[in-house]
């Protein structure tokens, strides 16, 4: 417990530093104390919601990744690779095309899409003998590819201007951040982190094997439902706000396990804090790398995540 508190303090300090850097730096320098109203506007109206949304999205994707990995006994499980993010993306697009700008439709359908994709991948990957790495990854690839095709079909309904912003959004983009998106993502991230952390002791057993978990007192069906439900909620909210930022749920829990071991009572809640810092820094890199132009943040996370995925796959 004391160790967890210490780790939390260190990670919160890293997050605070990351947020401060991301608020101050970019294509233009900005400050809340600047005499120039332009710079003040950049700080409060553009950067602040963007950075906070990045933090919420990072926390959401990392905490979901950490919990899904333990539940599925697979360090490669990640919302983006499992197709959960694409399920949410399809839900968001459907909401946009069918319901226009009706405010609750996007997160609601994003959640439904994420939940449906989770259940689909899980049932494709599971056999009577259990679930192996290859089968889970393949099921994720199949579902992701299928959902991507449907998403591309839907984009044909969009005009040229909206198509460009949608393409950016699909890759994971924080430039469209709004305060309503921040509030919604923040609420979902906090609720899901609390729910998933409450399951972390059970996940320590689930991570070793389903039979071990049953034998030592875990109601495995309930834990599975809670983890799939909470991760779909949080991924749905994150994707509705910022598109599919990939690999965050893979990179962050992996680094935490390397640094602090596999105890999910540390890995799951700390993933939320570290994930927030990670996406804030990745977005800062996306803004300054080719300034004044911008990269979508999802491109930066994928650049880092894909090699790690290959490394983990070979190690497994």
């Amino acid at each position: 417990m004391k160790r967890a508190a210490k780790i939390a303090m260190i990670l919160i300090a890293v997050l605070a530093a990351a947020v401060a850097a991301a608020l101050l730096f970019g294509a233009e320098w900005a400050s809340p104390f600047s005499q120039d109203p332009g710079r003040q506007a950049i700080f409060f109206d553009i950067r602040l919601p963007r950075v906070l949304l990045g933090a919420c999205v990072g926390a959401s994707l990392a905490v979901a990744g950490a919990a899904l990995q333990a539940l599925l006994r697979n360090p490669l499980a990640e919302p983006y690779l499992l197709g959960v993010s694409n399920g949410a993306a399809l839900g968001t697009m459907l909401a946009f095309v069918v319901f226009g700008n009706y405010v609750f439709a996007r997160p609601l359908l994003a959640f439904t899409g994420a939940a449906a994709a989770s259940v689909l991948v899980y049932s494709l990957a599971k056999t009577r003998a259990g679930m192996n790495v290859e089968r889970l990854v393949l099921s994720g690839v199949i579902v992701t590819t299928f959902l991507s095709s449907v998403i591309i079909m839907l984009t044909t309904l969009l005009d040229a201007a909206r198509l460009r912003s949608f393409t950016f959004w699909l890759l994971g983009d924080l430039s469209q951040a709004t305060w309503s998106g921040v509030y919604l993502s923040f609420g979902a991230a906090v609720i899901a982190t609390i729910i998933l952390s409450s399951q972390s002791k059970a996940l320590n057993l689930m991570m070793l094997g389903e039979r071990d978990a049953v034998d030592f007192g875990v109601e495995t069906g309930r834990v599975r439902l809670v983890v799939f439900g909470a991760s779909s909620l949080v991924v749905g909210a994150a994707v509705a706000a910022s598109g599919s930022v990939g690999y965050v749920g893979l990179i962050v829990p992996h680094l935490l396990r390397l640094a602090f071991g596999s105890d999910n009572r540390i890995v799951v809640p700390m993933s939320a804090i570290a994930g927030a810092a990670f996406v804030v820094l990745a977005d800062l890199a996306a803004r300054v790398a080719i300034a004044p132009r911008e990269l979508p943040v999802g491109a930066v996370t994928a650049l880092l995540g894909a090699p790690l995925f290959i490394y983990l796959l070979r190690k497994n």
């Binding site: 417990m1 333990a70 006994r73 697979n74 360090p75 790495v133 952390s197 409450s198 399951q199 972390s200 002791k201 059970a202 320590n204 057993l205 991570m207 070793l208 094997g209 039979r211 071990d212 049953v214 034998d215 030592f216 007192g217 875990v218 109601e219 396990r257 071991g261 596999s262 105890d263 009572r265 497994n316």
Partner: protein
């Protein structure tokens, strides 16, 4: 005490265990023997309430096991399953502490009592030298001892062991049986052990149960039922039986 009365288990319409009766009494070790696919693991799973029974009843200290929660069962019944390799780096101590899950809140951290129970189990299983080593860095024998330590840390007084000595060398096989025997004799635990080693069964078990195609065909004291006829019936092999000169127990030698 754990007791199965006329239990049957079906998987998708196929009966894998039929009308089994078994009583695990305090202080006693019961060895479960049978060919591969005879239903031994299913019997252990059913005894633990982890495989749904289609008929009969299982009583744990007089209460129907399906009326108890998983935590309530886990506080009384400890399982040593055939070990599997984890893809996550888990230390010996972390692994043993998972055996205390049933005692805490799901949020919670271990209290002193949990740590004490885990440390005692680690010491009992001769693992004091490496509580911080990673499970995947251990040898097969060491890992199996850790799996037993977790079961002992749970303080469940009924031990169910599913082939705990498979893949172990001679010294580790004996050590596993000795550790279980000690708990049974000194602390009145009861144990059921699945094993293919009839000599270990003869040496350490108080009762032997023989399974053929999901049915218990013989049960009783090792000296009574470990005979050439019964062994031929369950394994379809010829054996010679004599007496182990060091212990005076039955000794089984296969004729090739």
């Amino acid at each position: 005490m754990l007791e199965a009365r006329d239990i049957s288990v079906k998987y998708g319409g196929t009966t894998v265990l039929a009308d089994a009766n078994l009583r695990l009494s305090p202080g006693k070790i019961t060895a479960i023997v049978g060919a591969n696919g005879a239903g031994k693991t299913t019997l252990i799973k059913a005894l633990n309430g982890a495989a749904p029974i289609s008929a009969g009843e299982i009583l744990l200290d007089g209460k129907a096991i399906n009326s108890l929660s998983r935590s309530e069962i886990a506080r009384e019944v400890a399982v040593v399953a055939q070990e599997t390799e984890s893809r996550f780096p888990v230390s010996v101590r972390e692994f043993v502490l998972t055996g205390r899950f049933a005692y805490g809140s799901s949020f919670g951290w271990e209290n002193e009592r949990d740590i004490e129970a885990a440390d005692r189990a680690i010491a009992d299983c001769d693992l004091r030298e490496f509580p911080d080593r990673l499970m995947n860095d251990l040898s097969g024998g060491e890992r199996q001892r850790v799996v037993l330590a977790r079961a002992l840390a749970s303080e469940g007084r009924v031990l169910l062991l599913d082939e705990p000595t498979a893949n172990l060398d001679l010294a580790n096989q004996t050590l596993m049986f000795r550790l279980v025997l000690e708990r049974c004799r000194k602390q009145d635990y009861s144990a059921a052990i699945i094993t293919h080693d009839l000599n270990l069964a003869a040496e350490f078990a108080d009762e032997v149960v023989m399974l053929v195609k999901g049915r218990i065909v013989h049960s009783g004291k090792p000296a009574e039922i470990l005979n050439a006829k019964n062994i031929r019936e369950i394994f379809n092999v010829e054996v010679i039986l004599d007496t182990n000169p060091s212990s005076g127990k039955a000794r089984v030698t296969q004729v090739y």
